[in-house]
Amino acid sequence: MFRPRRDTGAALAGIWLALILGFLYLPIAVMVVMAFNESVLYELPFKPTTVWFERLAENERLLRASANSVGLALANTVIATALGTMAALAFARYTFRGKTLLRLLLFPPITIPWLIIGTAMLVMFFWIGIGRGLHAMLLGHVALSLPYVVVVVGARLASFGPSLEEAAATLGANPWQTFRRVTLPVLAPGVVAAALFAFAVSFDQFVISYFLAPPGVSTLPVEIYSAIRKGFTPEVNAISSIIIIISMGVVLLFARLYRFGGAPADGGGR
């Protein structure tokens, strides 16, 4: 990671970065290690075991919550990415009344505390009869993820302007052919990044899920929260370790594909 440099400024920057990364990763590393430790109370010396993973396999509640979380996040990713990409295209390529205002209104939900949005949703959903449940949670997650998708995809769209699509039209491509063969492939890295965002927003989501989950239904963050309240067990470490490994794998895979897969360059000649 460090390459010796004559420039002390660069060396110091490297050390600084390493410290920050260490600060971020150390707790996670400790947790992963402890998932394999026999002691419930994080006691040393380290005695390797896989007992927590075996216990996890029998823990119905935690497994069902995990399944809910993954399912919810996947559904949210598909719906929010599709809707958000369409919205971003509309913003970038069409002019219509109230466009500026609508675009402006996309941003506040990103900054409004989730607690407040969650409360508002709970009240609203009860009021109009949607109630609580996985469907309500999905609705909430999609609403939360949409602004992120629109912003990420929109940034990518802004980077290449309409001339590629115009060129396709002059060459005889109808609007669908233009979208499928030009817009979408060029947009792909932005769409993938937006999908990862949408997945993360949903998978991480605690507040909204907590508010909108009916008794007996929960997601992983909610379940972990109640597990910790009731009394901590290393099973939580075990499930968390599995999630970390999977999500890091996905992100690294994406980064690798993005870099080496002939990432569509930046919009041709400038």
């Binding site: 115009e166 002059t170 005889g172 109808n174 052919q177």
Partner: protein
């Protein structure tokens, strides 16, 4: 190969009239330049032919077919964009093949036609490269090949050479002209570069505020500008304002009498004369060999040295004239020297304001 007919095309954007009753006929196989400052409507006109802009009034016909409400992808045109707009995620081959593949041309025919087109623009061997790996000139050729491979009825070029440096631009001008001749395609191109318009085109139209000011072959438009704007925009010009006297000479306010070709008899009012700076000759006062029937005495007010040419600003009474000379004086004429400027009446053109 086709004829483009534009009749009374008008287009408004909000409060501005981008095109104001433009009528034009572009002949078969012709290379036609739309020249004008930014905001003159030249790009709007090109985009109207392409179908990106729908006229509020007027008709555009290609080979007699009205283009009204016909979407861009069904107009059978080829277009080269200012920044080429090559598809960054496709190889050179796929870029050029795009127009054929959306037309469902067979694989073997596609390969053959793409290869022939890449040979025409001298890019054989570049099939597998990505646009990002090409130089500006190469990207330009790919864009041209891509636009021509479908054998469109009309080729539209939007400032095609604007993004290239000067030396490369010169070379591409020659190449573009050659390829256009070889293919024989009716071509309309937009430029703000007057030299490019003069060297490349069969005919030029000068646009200003949505109207065609003047059109014709480059030489005719350059030598016989009809308005002050045309004279000033295409090349440089010296202007003299005056009144026609009894003998058909033009009296300027500073008292000199000038002869011009085609001076109308008895205009009663002011008329404006235009003379190109390179038509003027300059000599030190008292030098005998100077010819030309129009003469002005003056003092050199400024000298701009540009290597092969020298531009003099000469103060002649109240007027200041610009003279462009080949750099051949043994002893350069210096600022402050008294000089005589002269030129022929046939180079003196009457223009409208």
């Amino acid at each position: 190969m086709s004829i483009v007919d534009i009749e009374g095309v008008t287009r408004r954007f909000g409060d501005t009239l981008a095109l104001d009753g433009v009528s034009l006929r572009i002949e078969e196989g012709e290379l036609f330049a739309l020249l004008g400052p930014s905001g003159s409507g030249k790009t709007t006109l090109l985009r109207a032919i392409a179908g990106f802009v729908e006229p509020d009034a007027g008709v555009i016909r290609i080979d007699g077919d009205a283009m009204h409400n016909l979407p861009v992808h069904r107009r059978d045109i080829g277009m080269v964009f200012q920044h080429y707009a090559l598809f960054p995620h496709m190889s050179v081959f796929d870029n050029v093949a795009f127009g054929l593949s959306v037309r469902r041309v067979s694989r073997s025919e596609t390969a053959e036609r793409v290869r022939a087109m890449l040979a025409l623009v001298q890019l054989q061997g570049y099939e597998e490269r990505r646009p990002g790996q090409l130089s500006g000139g190469q990207q330009q050729r790919v864009a041209l090949a891509r636009a021509l491979v479908t054998r469109p009825r009309v080729l539209l070029l939007d400032e095609p050479l604007g993004a290239l440096d000067k030396r490369l631009r010169r070379r591409m001008q020659v190449e573009l002209r050659q390829i256009q001749r070889e293919v024989g395609i009716t071509t309309v191109f937009v430029t703000h570069d007057q030299e490019e318009a003069l060297t490349l085109s069969d005919r030029i139209a000068i646009l200003d505020t949505g109207r065609i000011v003047q059109s014709g072959p480059p030489r005719a438009v350059y030598e016989r500008p009809e308005t002050v704007f045309a004279a000033d925009f295409l090349g440089d010009a010296n202007f003299f304002t005056g009144w026609v006297d009894d003998e058909g000479r033009v009296r300027t306010s500073s008292g000199s009498a000038l002869l011009a070709a085609g001076v109308p008899e008895d205009t009663g009012g002011e008329i404006i004369l235009a003379v190109r700076p390179e038509k003027l000759r300059i000599a030190r006062a008292g030098t005998p060999e100077l010819d030309g029937a129009n003469r002005l005495a003056g003092t050199v007010a400024g000298v701009l040295y540009a290597g092969s040419t020298v531009t003099y600003r000469v103060a002649c009474g109240e007027a200041e004239v610009t003279v462009l000379e080949q750099n051949r004086e043994a002893v350069p004429i210096a600022q402050g020297e008294p000089v005589t400027v002269s030129w022929w009446p046939e180079h003196t053109v009457v223009v409208r304001p």
